[in-house]
């Protein structure tokens, strides 16, 4: 059950997408999101979608994972879909009118449009975590936020906290699995019963988990201190982030895509949308 979490999971590889500088990847991902929100009609939105699929193909990540990354966010997608369906009011005659429910043509089109946009958004964002290791990601965030240091914002500490948190997620999941198995072996009933019963049944799992997490944190802090860790001041790094030709090309492609989308917004007019 716990092993099924895919969001934020990294799939090692050696594709061109994997090798892009992680800083650029974050920026490009933000650009992609901006692009999705600029896209004002189906034509431009689908172009953005096709572009994303091409990038997926380049990365060698299996298409199956697209659906896997959508699964946990399905409730949000459905919620947006329904909200738009019922609350958008068009000008013409309503299509359906049942008591307080009124559905207009515009409601349906907007709802579909928004849903497609959200799906593209999630799938595109997951590509970033699929192809970038958590360490590279936090490294990139630290570098991107480093201008904030001038404002005395603890960028390094924040990045270190994120690195540690990310590093220990799999460890904690494994540990939770182990403790759950151990308590199940003692007859714990973790899967059935009402909400309160279920919550109560989790106590034998949570207490040992907290105890070991605190112990681990303590040991880690001690180990870091033993190696003279004293924060970000004057720290050098083993892996230098470098950007090369391919990163520049990627930026150019992205810029071209955004330009294309803007042009499509202006010149492609689909009746009714």
């Amino acid at each position: 059950m716990l092993k099924d979490i895919t969001i934020g999971q990294f799939f090692p590889g050696n594709s061109i997408i994997h090798r892009l500088d992680s800083r650029f990847k974050i920026l490009l991902d933000i650009a992609y999101v901006v692009m999705l929100f600029i896209a004002g009609n189906y034509c431009s939105l689908l172009t953005a979608g096709v572009f994303m699929l091409i990038v997926y193909m380049l990365s060698g990540i299996s298409f199956k994972l697209i659906f896997k990354s959508l699964k946990p966010l399905l409730p949000i997608i459905i919620f947006t879909c329904i909200l738009n369906l019922f609350f958008i009011h068009g000008e013409g005659e309503p299509l359906v009118q049942l008591g307080f429910i009124t559905i207009y043509m515009e409601g349906i089109t907007t709802s579909v449009f928004m849903t497609v946009r959200i799906v593209f958004l999630i799938v595109g964002m997951s590509l970033l975590t699929y192809t970038t290791s958590p360490i590279a990601l936090t490294d990139a965030i630290e570098r991107l936020l480093s201008p904030l240091k001038k404002l005395h914002f603890p960028v390094h500490e924040l990045a270190m906290m994120m690195t540690i948190a990310l590093r220990f997620i799999p460890t904690l999941i494994e540990e939770t699995d182990k403790i759950m198995s151990a308590q199940k072996a003692r007859g714990a009933n973790l899967d059935t019963g009402g909400l309160i019963k279920k919550a109560k049944a989790l106590i034998p799992v949570l207490i040992p988990l907290f105890v070991s997490a605190f112990k681990r944190a303590n040991e880690l802090a001690l180990a870091m201190e033993c190696r003279c860790y004293k924060g970000g001041e004057g720290r050098t790094r083993m892996k230098q982030l470098k950007f090369g030709m391919r990163d520049i090309i990627a930026v150019l492609i992205m810029a071209a895509m955004i330009a294309l989308i803007v042009l499509m917004n202006i010149y492609v007019v689909i009746p009714g949308v």
Partner: protein, 287 residues
């Protein structure tokens, strides 16, 4: 009658993902009632995965698990009742302790079984006694105990359920020599006293030969052999080849054999080695 029977047991991790891997590969096995069986194998040989099948924590990808003549994945079998019948103690079992007092923690299993108050009390006290936990410790917090004591409390927590089959995954790992000896001795005493079926997973060949009647060797997810301790060491060369250690005394005997003094391939305890050496010297072939 067999306490445990496995038929073509296969288990694959992460089925249907790029990380799919076979952890246990077509294992056929019978373990008799009352047997004290040592399970040995390299890290990643599938020992831990194998034992988690025996109480239904893992469901086999294919194959059958039969406990006491009953297929545990057959329809209508309550898997929790299997877990009370097959007690499983995990590696570093002290990590499972959570209650305020030792007493309450040991009582957790029996409580889940739905025992009455008096029954729980009797079980807790008996389990504590069997694991050498003194009465005054019962009211202490389990987090205040020493490593060895915690381990024995965790073991008592499983023994209190009075399982027919007791499976222990590295019960002595990470303890100091005295703690090791004490835990293993208590398990051995428990076996002698109640005659339950016991499966003991260990890295240490020395521990296994000292207590177990039979040895089960796992190698790369497959069952390498399941035989009487005497016979296993007849295959000592193969055992070394798959990367496992043999007891030190066996190594000495192997060295002697190379020098031309063959005292037999079934020597794995110092006592037996002494016996054989004395017998050999009596015959006067060595001075």
């Amino acid at each position: 009658m067999n306490a445990i029977e496995l038929k073509g047991l296969t288990y694959k991790y992460s089925l249907g993902t790029p990380f799919e891997s076979v952890a246990v590969d077509n294992v056929n096995l019978q373990i008799e009632k009352g047997e004290f069986c040592g399970i040995i194998g390299h890290t990643g040989s599938g020992k831990s995965t194998l034992i988690q099948h025996l109480n239904g924590l893992l469901k086999p990808t294919s194959g059958e698990v039969i406990i006491d003549g009953q297929n545990i994945w057959a329809k209508g079998v309550d898997i929790r009742s299997i877990r009370f019948k097959v007690g499983l103690v995990f590696q570093y079992s002290e990590h499972q302790l959570f209650e305020e007092t030792v007493y309450k923690d040991i009582a957790y299993g029996p409580k889940n079984m739905g025992c009455s108050e008096e029954d729980i009390d009797r079980r807790v006290r008996q389990a504590a006694e069997n694991m050498g936990i003194k009465d005054e410790l019962l009211e202490r917090s389990p987090f205040d105990l020493s490593g060895g004591q915690k381990r024995r409390v965790a073991l008592a927590g499983v023994i209190a359920m009075d399982p027919e089959i007791l499976i222990l995954d590295e019960p002595a790992a990470g303890l100091d020599p005295i703690g090791r000896e004490k835990v293993l001795k208590k398990i051995s005493d428990y076996h002698k006293k109640y005659g339950k079926t016991i499966l003991l997973v260990s890295h240490s060949m020395e521990d296994i030969v000292k207590y177990a009647d039979k040895v089960l060797v796992m190698n790369k997810g497959r069952l390498f052999c399941h035989e009487d301790t005497d016979n296993v060491f007849a295959r000592q060369d193969e055992i070394i080849k798959i990367g496992l250690d043999v007891p030190q005394i066996t190594k000495i005997m192997m060295g002697l054999r190379e020098k031309g003094v063959d005292l037999g391939k079934d020597i794995y305890t110092v006592e037996r080695a002494k016996e054989r050496i004395l017998r050999y010297m009596d015959k006067g072939t060595i001075c």
